[in-house]
């Protein structure tokens, strides 16, 4: 019975991978592009631009700080110049 289950699980995993594999890269790129815009909007203040929604977005910062690090690296800054933000 255990073998049957594992066979089914293996088939299911193989099947799901067939669904995901061809599109994984495209979908991740699309998601990353959307995230880039979101991070840029939420961290406008850190870039020296007044952000009208900054006050309301403050509580999102802890959740996004890791994304912010990856974001500024993608945007061409290896370390973020503003002290205390990240890095």
């Amino acid at each position: 019975m255990a073998d049957e289950k594992s066979l089914w699980r293996r088939f299911s995993d193989y099947h799901d991978e067939l669904f995901m594999a061809p599109w994984r890269a495209g979908i991740a790129r699309e998601a990353r592009s959307e995230e880039d815009v979101l991070v840029a909007l939420l961290f406008l203040e850190a870039l020296g631009i007044p952000g009208p929604a900054d006050y309301y977005a403050l509580e999102l910062y802890p959740d996004l700080i890791e994304s912010f690090h990856r974001w500024h690296q993608r945007m061409g800054m290896d370390t973020f110049p503003e002290a205390g933000v990240c890095c």
């Binding site: 088939f11 299911s12 995993d13 193989y14 099947h15 799901d16 991978e17 067939l18 669904f19 995901m20 594999a21 061809p22 599109w23 994984r24 890269a25 495209g26 979908i27 991740a28 790129r29 699309e30």
Partner: protein, 568 residues
């Protein structure tokens, strides 16, 4: 002769091709190395570069490269008899497509997973990148035009297929939501979805949908109305995020492909049908001559340049071990050959007695305009051997081709949008920059215009130039393959290995393509098809350009052999 013998002949040849020729390619031409760190490991990022099990990789490579084209091409090409069509499918698959598909994966994997467009700029010349872009532009234009017509023909002649073809859309959307919103395994919903699709086939038959009323209300032909509706759909579909519709639709196609192949081969075996088509058909003098048109018409059924885009675009980035390229690349080419074989069987053994075949393939117009109908009828007959009513089987076949063509168009319009953006950027034309809706509209209007070109060479005098569009599509597709084979040949030569395995199919393809383009030029001029004449002339220029680039690059490489390069 029993049709089953055709299956045996082809499968034995494919087996021998895989067993011996692909081993020669893997060991002597591409020198696949189990110790080579593939880009999937070297550049692993969990997104583009992911080491993938070879069975999964073959599954997604095969379902990505297979579509409606390897069905349509051979279905037309049996006009010259089953023997020339089958011979070219077998030889083309073994000696051209296998070399091309396997080589595209290997060259890309050895170049950090770069795609064939970038590689052509790097391996051949900087100009070759522009050439690649232009060839792809024409290829996509013709793909979208041809498949728009394909779907319209099938909807018009099989109104029972409309409901099942439409039901695929909510099923696909549901599977996409299930996978991404709920993050669960899709095995159960996909089985349920497939069952729903097959339940929809008899429902569709009971409630056929025709657009005659709409067509007469707007004063257009029925097929024109379908073409307009299909292109309107592709505009919307190509603007949706891929996970909502395109990805699950593509996946449903994969399932359909496997089911279709299985039931066709099983139907032939159970029914023990005989081949009613002649081995070599005595065609009328005003028909296109089989030499060179057979090779252009079979197109993807033997070798397809589109495979190099998939092979170098995604497959090479997911290759776990380099020797597995043989299983995935060569295996994928054989899978496409099997699909072409299924189309040949349906159109030579599924149409009934010889008299019926002669009527169906009375002239080239009937062959090209009616090819899809012949495939649908033939598949319906094979399914009737399995106890499924032939009309239901025919609707099933129509749905398979429609879903393939629909997904290809969705992808094609997206790609055309990117290509248009890139071409306009290269040309310094800023008006299109970032204007996605406008780019999508252009990507739809260009092939739409071509799909509506009057021609009158179809069966039933519907007034569309499908047969001529198909030969143009075939030439462009072979040119894309020619470009990839040029890259492969130069790369192999640079490593001091024998490049003949790539050069022979390259020369053959370029010769056939340019010859067919020249014959088309004369034909279009005589018939006054100015739009098609302009298209043909442009593609001819690209072919000549490609020949110059390939010869120059091979000569340059021959004069600059580097003994130390053999191991790279």
């Amino acid at each position: 002769m029993p049709a089953f013998f055709l299956i045996v002949m082809a499968l034995v040849a494919f087996y021998l091709g895989y067993r011996f020729y692909s081993r020669y390619l893997a060991e002597k031409v591409y020198a696949l190395d189990p110790n080579f760190r593939t880009p999937a490991h070297e550049m692993r990022d969990g997104v583009d570069f992911v080491p993938t099990h070879k069975h999964v990789l073959l599954g997604h490579h095969f379902t990505s490269v297979a579509g409606a084209a390897p069905i349509v091409g051979p279905a037309i090409a049996v006009y010259w008899g089953w023997l020339p069509a089958l011979t070219w499918v077998i030889l083309g698959t073994i000696f051209a497509a296998g070399v091309h598909d396997l080589g595209s994966i290997v060259v890309s994997a050895r170049n950090r997973g770069q795609n064939i467009g970038t590689l052509s700029g790097k391996v051949i010349s900087a100009r070759a990148s522009t050439l690649f872009l232009l060839i792809i532009f024409f290829l996509l234009t013709l793909v979208n035009a041809v498949f728009g017509v394909v779907m319209a023909i099938l909807f018009e002649s099989n109104p029972g297929a409309v409901i099942p073809a439409l039901i695929v859309i909510p099923i696909a959307v549901f599977i996409g939501q299930w996978a991404y919103r709920l993050g669960r395994s899709i095995i159960i919903p996909s089985i349920v979805g497939l069952l729903l699709l097959y339940i929809a086939i008899p429902i569709g038959q009971a409630y056929p949908i025709e657009v005659d009323g709409l067509a007469s209300a707007i004063g257009l032909e029925v097929r024109t109305t379908w073409i307009l509706l299909i292109f309107a759909y592709t505009w919307i579909a190509s603007r949706l995020p891929v996970w909502i519709l395109l990805q699950p639709r593509d996946y449903i196609n994969g399932q359909q492909l496997i089911v279709a192949l299985f039931v066709i081969f099983l139907g032939v075996l159970v029914g023990w049908d005989t081949v009613s088509a002649p081995a070599v058909n005595e065609v009328s003098a005003d028909s296109p001559h089989w030499f060179p048109y057979l090779f252009i018409t079979v197109a993807c059924g033997a070798i397809s340049g589109f495979h190099s885009l998939v092979a170098s675009g995604t497959t090479s980035k997911q290759l776990d071990k380099e020797p597995e390229a043989r299983f995935v690349g060569y295996g994928g080419a054989l899978g496409e050959g099997a699909l072409a074989l299924a189309a040949i069987l349906a159109c030579t053994a599924g149409l009934g007695a010889a008299g019926e075949w002669n009527t169906a393939y009375a002239d080239f117009g009937a062959a090209s305009g009616g090819a899809l109908g012949h495939f649908v009828t033939g598949t319906g007959h094979f399914l009737s051997n399995l106890g499924i009513p032939a009309t239901l089987g025919a609707t099933f076949a129509a749905v398979v081709v429609i879903t393939f063509a629909g997904t290809t168009m969705d992808t094609g319009i997206r790609l055309q949008r990117y290509i248009l953006a890139e071409i306009s950027e290269l040309a310094g034309f800023k008006a299109l920059s970032g204007r996605v809706n406008l780019l999508t509209t252009l990507a739809v209007l260009i092939p739409l215009g071509l799909a509506l070109v009057p021609g009158g060479d179809d069966a039933g005098g519907k007034g569309f130039a499908f047969g001529r569009l198909w030969t143009l599509f075939g030439t462009t597709n072979q040119l894309t393959a020619g470009l990839a084979l040029s890259v492969i040949a130069v790369w192999v030569l640079a490593r001091n290995r024998n490049p003949l395995a790539a050069i022979v199919p390259l020369v053959f393809l370029l010769f056939m393509t340019t010859w067919a383009l020249l014959l088309n030029l004369v034909d279009f001029f005589q018939k006054g098809d100015w739009l098609l004449l302009a298209m043909d002339a442009a593609i001819f220029v690209l072919a000549a350009w490609l020949i110059v680039e390939a010869v120059t690059a091979l000569n340059r490489q021959r004069g600059a052999r580097d003994p130390a390069a053999a191991d790279r």
